[in-house]
């Protein structure tokens, strides 16, 4: 299955910190992806079982902000993301490899 460059960029950003928790704005900044592209992508990856998400356990009054939703790669997600990135890297010419 082919994945868009943006999807691969998001997966690569999440793979940098595999067990880490990522939130939307953080991923947008890292991958230069716009919100209208990111959220459908995250929903698709979550539907496919590559990601799980959970709302952070924080008191909005103490933190003075709303609780964020954090996305984490699942075991399946880590394996599939690595496969997808390796496939993409093997198909790309050397000058494009740096992009992902």
């Amino acid at each position: 299955m082919a994945y868009s460059m943006k999807t691969l960029a998001v997966l690569a950003a999440m793979l940098e910190d595999q067990t880490g928790k990522h939130f939307g704005y953080n991923l947008m900044q890292k991958t230069k992806t716009l919100s209208g592209t990111l959220y459908p992508m995250l929903a698709r990856l979550e539907n496919d079982g590559w990601l799980t998400s959970e709302v952070e356990d924080v008191d909005p009054r103490v933190a003075a902000r709303k609780p964020r939703r954090y996305y984490t790669l699942t075991g399946l997600g880590i394996r599939k993301a690595n496969e997808a990135l390796n496939t993409a890297r093997s198909q790309l010419t050397p000058s494009f490899i740096g992009c992902i």
């Binding site: 704005y25 919100s35 209208g36 964020r68």
Partner: protein, 152 residues
């Protein structure tokens, strides 16, 4: 005594230009202060375009994201692009609901939809029955009128 016009005096045209620029700056400043509020409204509208079972989740997520985006322009850019991509997100959610809580709310939504369908069917049956009853009344009244004419 003859008065010479001052060389540095501003003409009416120049004063108008300065006032226009000041006005534009004031309007832009006002618009910039409104941008965060517009962003929140736009995000709410975007969430309302999602299936009912996912609205609350995404609205909370996006409001939390909006809070951490610095500057009004950044916020409005986030909201506008979100609005653009919300149809794609709605399709993704429609394929398979996100999360266990959404699964549960989807069941409730389906039950509500079934109940609504049943209510519609009952309403339709009542309407059809009412129309038939009206038609029968009219036929009866016509018949009685004809019978009355025949009698006279």
């Amino acid at each position: 005594m003859h008065l010479m016009p001052a060389k540095n005096a501003l003409s009416t045209f120049e004063i108008r230009k300065i006032l226009t620029v000041i006005g534009i700056i004031l309007i832009l400043n006002r618009l910039l202060t409104w941008l965060p509020r517009w962003s929140i409204r736009l995000v709410e509208r975007a969430a309302n375009r999602l299936p009912v079972n996912a609205r609350a989740r995404y609205l909370n997520d996006w409001q939390a994201e909006l809070e951490c985006i610095p500057g009004g322009l950044g916020k409005i850019r986030f909201a506008v692009d979100l609005f653009r991509g919300v149809t794609a997100l709605a399709k993704e959610i429609a394929v398979k609901p996100v999360g266990a809580e959404a699964q549960a709310s989807l069941v409730i939504f389906k039950n509500q939809a079934t109940a609504l369908e049943q209510h519609r069917a009952v309403a339709l049956l009542l309407l059809v029955g009412f129309l038939i009853w009206i038609a029968l009344l009219r036929i009866e009244s016509k018949n009685s009128l004809i019978a009355g004419h025949a009698a006279t």
